[in-house]
Symmetry: D2
Subunit: 249 residues, 4 copies
């Protein structure tokens, strides 16, 4: 019994180019996240990166993925459109998607949202405080009324995304901005969670609260819906269920 099968995708570029980033994540951010998740009850985790064939996201890998986690930043445009098509298709079928931080501008996130996904930003190493805006939500399980990240890049409103189905976290930034830092949407049969924390130059994916929220997100995003409707929605039904009488009126 594999439990929930997670694939953590990372463009894995900064960690190889910048020694400061490498010092924080010697094996890449994906390894840090997958390392944590793989140790949690009922979860298994693998990784995939941009430089692998098909970016590591073959049909076979996606077929065995219940929840995909996405981190990208400087190499969004290098992701091939046919892989984006494939990931979108799997999400609509029911694969969960968790988009982290700068993944807000990834091809797959913009594809799923339909908007520019642009935002206001500043890199000044400032304090962020994430307030729980929806304590009924399982993603907030085990948190208090807020948690803090001592040094981070700022993302501010307006965040150009469709109004989320559920707004889970709102961030306060020391420099004066706010941000909808935890948002969920359903697309097709797939559940999507955007979670803001995670700049490459801060050890945010070693923060136990951040990792706990990602774990909560995985458990929330796994498909639990109607398995009997897996054949797709577009359907030409020639025979009506009820007798149609109006034609002869």
């Amino acid at each position: 019994m594999p439990g929930i099968r997670v694939t953590v995708w990372n463009e894995f570029v900064h960690e190889k180019k910048h020694s400061a980033v490498k010092a924080i994540y010697p094996e890449g951010m994906h390894a840090a996240i997958a390392g944590y998740l793989g140790k949690q009850e009922g979860l298994t985790a693998r990784t995939a990166t941009l430089d692998q064939p098909e970016h590591g996201l073959t049909e076979a890998v996606l077929a065995e993925t219940d929840v995909l986690i996405w981190w990208g930043h400087m190499a969004h445009e290098e992701v091939e459109d046919r892989i984006v098509d494939r990931v979108q298709k799997r999400i609509l079928e029911g694969m969960g998607l968790i988009v982290l931080h700068s993944g807000h501008y990834s091809k797959i996130f913009r594809r799923m949202m339909g908007t520019s996904c642009l935002l206001r930003w500043r890199e000044a190493g400032e304090l962020e405080r994430l307030w729980v805006a929806n304590p009924a939500h399982p993603i907030t399980r085990g948190l208090g009324p807020y948690f803090e990240i001592p040094h981070t890049e700022m993302y501010g409103e307006h965040f150009d995304v469709p109004q989320p189905d559920e707004l889970v976290f709102i961030s306060w930034f020391e420099g004066g901005e706010v941000f909808r830092s935890g948002c969920t949407w359903v697309r097709g049969r797939g559940k999507i969670f955007y979670f803001r924390p995670g700049h490459e130059t801060y050890p945010i994916y070693h923060n136990q609260t951040v990792l706990k929220v990602i774990e909560n997100g995985v458990r929330w995003a796994v498909f639990a819906g109607n398995t009997e409707m897996s054949e797709g929605y577009g359907k030409h039904v020639q025979e009506s269920i009820e007798t149609i009488r109006s034609i002869n009126h």
Copy 2:
């Protein structure tokens, strides 16, 4: 003072190929809709079609369009991606979009939704009854609790779109299905209204109630928001509003 400037787009293929369709709409469905709208107080209407240069949707035309109405069916794939990009950009800036009937599978609608937009369908000329599900909504102005279309193609659930921000109409079909026939979404600064009625082989765009709903939709979809935020959302702000002290902690 031009009032609200509407552009009615039609692929304009069926009307030229099929004499039965031509008999109903001799100058095309776009002409029927624009003819009605252009006579309403405070509205002006123009048309655009697939076979025109840039499908009639040049930068200049879009810049002068407050609300775009879209009808397409058999030629969705012939719409150029660069025109779809351009229309999406204008919607995100604030142009309203009304998508009619088989436009559910147009490139622009799928682009804005992020989902397959597939549905169940049957062409049997059956009765449709559209129930008002949100009487507070201006799109329902002047209607009773429901209105009917005597003969129509059926569209049934599940309709694979993001949950609408507002559900305005739900259809009952004689053959046994239901459908979310009036749905609205906000994307960027643009407002989108999907309205189901309108198959090419029935005189639905001569129906006064259908035309009235489209007019209501135009008045609802026109941008009325924050004109002071027109410069775009992605912004690198190097200077913080408040003094950042945490860096030296």
Copy 3:
């Protein structure tokens, strides 16, 4: 380990007054529902009725209830306001609530919604077909694209409730109406599911699909959120988190 603790509440009036109803539910509808739920993996079920002291909903019973199921019809006004206050308080703290059929007009449902909760209705024993409008939702687990109830009372739009957070089922009725038959809302930390089927004169709570949906609803409605915020939201915080400098400006 008690698992999920369900309390099934019934006004239990029709079953005692009308022999036709008694024939279908000799021990009451609550007994039929609780009998089914109590046999499911991980669930325990008890019942409570109007004629018991405090309507069977003492502080102790509610404290031990994870999900409350509510059925009422002719005796809504006999429910004491202080019990309604108590139930509302528990829902806001995190108890799930499932409201069945004519419970749409119960004091507790109207209290939670803030609207009239009125609807259109007809009792003609007609066919109802419930279409799945959200196949990503766990409440639809195990269903096909729709299911049917051969003879039922009709409820039709407009249903005067706040737009649901999630629309799960839409009903088609033989007599010509539609209805939002499965709706969810979050209120405080509590999750609410309204499920339409269940008139007293039809054996609807012996229907295995209906019972399965109620079971799915129970599993969905149980609190899974932020247990660390249980102390209540109203809080006067005299000390600020950050130093406030603007006062001396």
Copy 4:
């Protein structure tokens, strides 16, 4: 032609008891707000207060009110339940409601929401910066990306209200909190706007941006929906629209 008819309700207690408040609002906050609104194109404004017969909210006054603005703080419990019933009824029929600041805990707002409406608060005269979270919304018309109130009482999350239909503003507070400061909901045919600014000890209702937002709110909240459905929703329809055949199956 009276245009949009606004009634500004104020409990009008602080202004009479505390000289500091009286100095800011010699004739009461209601007079300041109504004075501004009455001068705007297409609006007329009257006032009503707690100490008037029926709190100034007679059937006749409500019948002539398109949008009701509500401010209360220390005297919420003195508002009679029968007047709350009457106001709720009018909102469900289509009267708009704008609730200001401490009105979050008024009987009418809690009635419409169904939740505790509690929040976190602190009175330290700190800076508030309201960020526009929905630039497509007419309530944000004429604003930039944010506006500021130099000294105010803080309200912080979690704000125990139903997830808003539209989230318009998010506040940043100098002391470290965030708040959903502009929220809208539809209830029945009525539109509701909660707007946070406005503590009695600061001259906030003399701030031109705050007044402009209230004016925008009034124009948004006025009923523009389906006047043909004014007779109420609860309806026993004995005759079916379609012939029902299943009874004899």
